[in-house]
């Protein structure tokens, strides 16, 4: 995968080569080399842990810009549920939706209804499914990527139902093309995203040939303009009556901003929710070993507590959770989504993913058993010579990864400062001058 397909990049002007990002990365996808953080694209899952970890604002999200809006005749914003939780408990989703028409979009679309449809479809699909158990949600794209690179055995566990954001964009485009007599490519549909994982799922989709979304703006970028526009009150003129579906915002939809939200909207109660990338990996390890086979569905998020702690949010996670609860009480519970209709759409493959989700194994290890054993022995021997302080000064997140980088030829043992000091101490003083 080319690096530009990732939604994270490092700004050379800001990076001070401190290794905080490399050490935060759950998949060891960052190295600091030649004074600069660099991404190993085959390992990156776009979770944004590096963005959260960077204290110098050097790890950046590659999101849409106002210039991208100008490519279209008509633009619509679809906010993530997390966006509704950014402005405190006094500001209702409806006001936020209207404000979006003052910051450069022609219209807005709330996806609560689609969220409920997908929850219903997941229930219906699971009721007819024969395993393997447990089934795993595809809502968090970083989770899907994690499974592709680290847990290929769990690919069969993913629920092959497209996400609400993609399905909403697909339907919306059809609707707009028909109602406004526009060409499909004249309509720009943009997500308002809480994270780089979703941005990446638009740049380089999985389970889909091409995203139905044209891009995504980070919540962090739209927050200021929307906050200022909130006082406008009146909807902008160009807002389409048909799209003023702000009444559709529901508690069931809003709950998807948090972990537990997805399963709370399902009938099936034999479910679990896991969040935080390390805990998710622990859970996946256990599923691989055959645990949780009596659980039907697992909702998993790389962000602790779910999308409210995405890497592009403004509001603090716990406050956002409170906001979700409090706004949620004032919204209607759900839209009228009929089970029969859902089953019909399911049979028509409306919810189906277009492509198979394939493994993306990362081959650091030789495939031949004897060579793999030799590799493992060398790795252990190397690790024994390293200080095991996991200081990161070599540019790899920890000594074990540095050992692997040495084996792959990407780095050398004396990339470690402790090894260099030890070598100096071993070298007789008179020859030191000749050392390189």
């Amino acid at each position: 995968m080319a690096e530009r397909e990732h939604s994270i990049y490092f700004d050379p002007g800001k990076c001070i080569a401190c290794v905080a990002c490399a050490q935060a990365c759950p998949t060891h996808a960052v190295r600091v080399r030649e004074g600069m953080a660099r991404l190993k694209p085959e390992l990156c899952i776009d979770c944004g842990a590096c963005i959260d970890a960077c204290r110098y604002d050097a790890a950046r999200a590659r999101t849409s810009t106002p210039a991208d809006l100008r490519r279209f005749k008509y633009t619509v914003a679809i906010p993530s549920m997390t966006f509704y939780a950014q402005f405190g408990r006094e500001v209702m989703p409806e006001q936020i939706l209207h404000a979006l028409t003052h910051v450069g979009f022609d219209a807005f679309y709330d996806m609560s209804w689609m969220v409920e449809m997908v929850a219903g479809a997941t229930d219906a699909w699971i009721s007819e499914c024969r395993g393997p158990w447990p089934r795993i949600s595809v809502t968090c794209p970083a989770i899907v990527r994690l499974i592709q690179i680290r847990y290929p055995d769990l690919l069969d566990h993913l629920v092959p139902i497209e996400t609400p954001r993609e399905l909403a964009a697909k339907l919306l485009r059809r609707k707009l093309v028909a109602e406004l007599r526009l060409q499909p490519e004249e309509v720009g549909i943009f997500f308002v995203t809480q994270c780089t994982a979703i941005m990446n799922s638009i740049l380089a989709p999985v389970g889909l040939d091409q995203s139905y979304l044209d891009g995504a703006f980070g919540i962090n970028e739209l927050y200021g303009p929307v906050l200022k526009a909130l006082s406008h009150g009146e909807p902008a003129e160009r807002e389409l009556g048909a799209l003023a579906a702000s009444e559709s915002v529901s508690r069931a939809g809003l709950m998807w901003a948090m972990s537990g939200g997805e399963i709370s909207g399902m009938r099936n109660a034999n479910t679990m929710t896991v969040s935080g990338v390390r805990e998710v990996m622990g859970t996946f390890d256990r599923i691989e070993s055959g645990k949780y086979r009596n659980v039907d569905f697992i909702e998993a998020y790389v962000c602790p507590g779910g999308c409210v702690s995405g890497c592009l949010v403004i509001e603090e996670r716990y406050i956002a959770q409170r906001t979700v609860q409090q706004i949620g009480r004032r919204l209607r519970g759900q839209n009228s989504v009929k089970e029969e209709k859902i089953r019909g759409l399911l049979r028509d493959h409306f919810f189906a993913m277009e492509d198979e989700i394939k493994a993306r194994p990362v081959h650091a290890i030789p495939r031949d058993l004897r060579q793999a054993i030799a590799w493992k022995r060398e790795r252990s021997a190397l690790l024994d010579r390293l200080p095991r302080k996991d200081c990161g000064a070599c540019g790899a997140p920890d000594c074990g990864t540095h050992a692997e980088d040495c084996l792959s030829g990407e780095s050398s043992e004396d990339g470690c400062v402790f090894v260099r000091i030890a070598n100096l101490e071993k070298t007789p003083a008179e020859t030191r001058g000749n050392e390189r």
């Binding site: 290929p152 055995d153 390890d285 256990r286 691989e288 070993s289 055959g290 645990k291 290890i365 030789p366 495939r367 031949d368 058993l369 004897r370 793999a372 054993i373 590799w375 493992k376 790795r379």
Partner: protein, 154 residues
């Protein structure tokens, strides 16, 4: 240990890699950690993921049996070309009736253990089902030895 000599590879067989892991009875705190460490090793060796899954299921069950019923044990992992072998010899009460212990649903776990999700009586039968080679021997008052292996295309 229970006096069993360490198993020797059959003539012509070569153990390419081996490692031993101690397990202590009642060590619920670390329950499953040996199975997890073995899994990391098997992944590092590039063993097919199907085989790893089968072995991990068995290792977890076998490890928990030691923690629940025995005093202490050593799990020996042996990797051969086309086969991963596990020998788990424990020092403990042993099993009086092996046929009974191998039956699905048979368990001497207490109701409390069962409440915590252990003791469905499926551990040993599951190990057998997930292995290509399986044997169990036991001496009452001395200990139990499990041997199982999963084979794969080399």
């Amino acid at each position: 240990m229970n006096g069993d000599a360490p198993p020797l590879p059959a003539p012509g067989e070569e153990v390419l890699y081996s490692e031993s892991f101690p397990i202590r009875g009642n060590d619920f705190e670390h329950g499953g950690s040996v199975a997890a460490r073995v899994k990391v090793i098997l992944k590092q060796l590039g063993i097919p993921s199907d085989s790893i899954r089968h072995l991990s299921i068995s290792n977890f069950e076998a490890e928990m049996n030691v923690i629940m019923y025995a005093d202490e044990a050593t799990l020996e992992l042996q990797v051969l070309s086309g086969e991963v072998r596990v020998i788990l010899a424990d020092r403990g009460p042993g099993i009086v009736d092996l046929d009974l212990a191998m039956q699905e649903g048979y368990s001497t776990a207490t109701p409390e253990m069962r409440q915590r999700g252990f003791g469905a009586g499926l551990g040993l039968p599951n190990i057998k089902r997930n292995s290509d080679v399986f044997s169990i021997t036991s001496t009452v008052g001395v200990g139990t030895t499990l041997r199982y292996a999963v084979q794969f295309e080399a």
